[in-house]
Amino acid sequence: MKTIILKTASKYLLPLLLLFSVFILLRGHYLPGGGFVGGLIASIAFVVYAFANGLEQTKDLLRIHPGYLMPVGLLIAFVAGISPMFLSALPFMTGEWFAEPLAVIGMVGSALFFDIGVFIVVVGVSLTIIFTITESA
């Protein structure tokens, strides 16, 4: 499997797919998509890369163990969730919004950060599971 073509292709595929996944994440509020599917696409990107270049190299690329993405994502979601409690004494998970919409993304608010958290967790989870299974297979 580790052919030159695949290796080369995966080098370009990885950033492309990652970009695409972020796109899916961001548009989720308006059209089908969202953090979960986006996260899955991002992990597929890394999996394809791993197929081509081997597990070790993928890990080097990631620098940290994908498992650490999970608490990071959870923490982002958590902070997004509790921010209204501190900012405006509203209940947990209440949407907080910036006044003006941003280009491309649209309205930005705590829900988006929450979705980003989902995205990161999903990447962390999928990669952890797949890497672990591959390593011990």
Binding site: G67, P71, P91, F92
Partner: protein, 502 residues
């Protein structure tokens, strides 16, 4: 915004679970964070409890979406009590874990998962949304799967497969029930459901939905004939895990049953007959199972089943006094069962076995420990005036009032078998001069532990023993609490008003 505190028990556990994940590499740090987190959680739970006790039910709408559209969290006195008990057991088990769990297990996420489990429990107690309840249940079962398998011993895995399959089956049935319920009412908020279900004309479908919930929760609560997973798996993980499982996991099923059958499905005769029969058979079958076992942990496992029968009985009798009895029993059982499994853990550390045949001589060599252990053991039997005794008064009286002597018989039978089994256990484990056991090489016998580890085992047991003594001798307080819970449960209007403001 005082009602924010409703979510604190959930948020604090979530927060500490996440923090523990960050501290993945340092076992020492994890232990400290966990114990600290449990103390914070206990403090918040006490605060919540006192607030609810003085001010009445509080609700909070997550996301600030008015009920029934968002997810509502409801801290009525029942939920607050269970959250408090979770915090108490959680703290005890957290300390106990620090002293008994193998370092290898800590290195693979034992503590974060443990806190996720507590998170799930708190969430399940506080949520006012039926689908959200499903989600909390999933948190609970996935955490328990990980805890039951962590370490990957052969017996752990064999037990886990049964545990896993039957619990997933339960979730599927639960989910099926939610599907039907949503199809009928178009709602998920439990208070709103209570109103909408009452309006449905096709009572047959309502009854079926109720039965699906009964079976789904019943599997988790380990009632007859749905309890198979429990004796197959509860004795396989380390004692600290058993303690939290034995104390709280089945109880969350009982909680859900009580909640759903006092709030949403009210007053269906057919159901009451079924629930009462189930209660009687659970008492019988659990007791009979405990009678034939030799392994002390398996005995305790069967006694869990047996004693679930008491709570189900209270629910089935469906009077205020009976529900109060069931709630009282629930409160007692959480504390005592948690402690019992820690007791068995201590015995195991001392002797290296769970088998009654091989155990012995504890009374002669550890008189103070024996005295400590006898508190949960006797509370379990319900030797008056210890904690297990009081709720039985209401259960027997109410069974008598409906003229069902079979149920009285079942209660007495279960109590008697518990008495007999514990007396025999006392005789075998504490009195008997046990056979000389071969030293298991590298086994961390109690004597070999350092002082801190010893304390980490003993302190939580003393703590819980004190709590159960309080439940027994301060039965007046607990009874008043249970009665108040029962009053609130029996008038589901109170709950509905608190959630929907109507």
């Amino acid at each position: 915004m005082i009602n924010h505190i409703v979510l604190y028990p959930i948020l604090v556990q979530l927060f500490f679970a996440i923090v523990l994940l960050f501290a993945w590499n340092s076992v020492r740090l994890q232990k400290s964070i966990s114990i600290f987190g449990c103390i914070v959680s206990l403090a918040l739970s006490i605060w919540l409890f006192i607030t609810i006790w003085t001010k009445g039910t509080l609700t909070i709408q997550a996301g600030n979406w008015e009920a029934p559209f968002g997810i509502t969290f409801v801290a009525d006195i029942f939920a607050a009590t269970l959250v408090l008990l979770t915090a108490i057991s959680g703290l005890a088990v957290s300390i106990f874990s620090a002293g008994t769990i193998l370092r290898a297990r800590f290195k693979f996420g034992y503590l974060p998962i443990f806190h996720f489990l507590l998170l799930g429990l708190n969430g399940a107690f506080l949520t006012g949304d039926i689908f959200n309840l499903y989600v909390w249940f999933e948190i609970i079962i996935i955490s328990s799967f990980v805890l039951i398998t962590i370490g990957g011993e052969k017996k752990q895995l064999e037990g886990a497969i049964k545990y896993f399959t039957l619990n997933i089956l339960a979730s599927m049935i639960f989910l099926t029930a939610i599907a039907v319920l949503y199809g009928l009412t178009g709602s998920l908020n439990m208070a709103d459901l209570a109103l909408k279900v009452a309006e449905i004309e096709n009572r047959g479908l309502v009854e079926i939905t109720a039965l699906l919930f009964l079976i789904g929760f019943g599997i988790k609560a380990a009632i007859f004939p749905l309890y198979f997973w429990l004796p197959a798996s509860y004795h396989t993980p380390p004692p600290a895990v058993m303690a939290i499982f034995g104390g709280l996991l089945t109880k969350v099923g009982v909680y859900a049953l009580i909640r759903v059958f006092t709030l949403i499905f009210v007053g269906e005769d057919f159901l009451e007959t079924i629930i009462l029969s189930i209660a009687g058979l659970t008492l019988f079958s659990g007791a009979v199972g405990a009678l034939v076992q030799n392994n002390i942990v398996k005995i305790f496992s069967y006694l869990i089943i047996c004693h679930i029968g008491f709570m189900i009985l209270g629910l089935g009798l469906y009077t205020e006094a009976a529900i109060a009895g069931a709630v009282f029993y629930l409160i007692h059982d959480i504390v005592v069962k948690t402690n019992l499994f820690m007791v068995s853990g201590l015995i195991y550390r001392i002797k290296g076995t769970f088998s009654m045949r091989d155990l012995g001589g504890l009374y002669a060599h550890y008189p103070m420990f024996s005295l400590l252990m006898i508190i949960p053991l006797f509370s379990l039997i319900g030797i008056p005036p210890l904690s297990g005794f009081w709720p039985k008064l209401a259960l027997i009286t109410e069974s008598f009032k409906i003229g069902n002597y079979w149920l009285i018989g079942a209660v007495l039978f279960a109590t008697f078998i518990t008495l007999f089994v514990i007396a025999r256990m006392w005789s075998e484990v504490f009195w008997k001069d046990g056979p000389v056991l071969n030293k298991v090489p590298n086994f961390r016998y109690f004597q070999l532990l350092n002082k801190r580890q010893k304390l980490q085992m003993i302190v939580p047991m003393v703590f819980l023993a004190m709590v159960s003594l309080y439940i027994g001798f301060g039965a007046e307080h607990i009874q008043r609490l249970s009665s108040r819970i029962a009053v609130e449960l029996m008038n589901n209007q109170l709950y509905i008003e608190a959630v929907l403001n109507k």
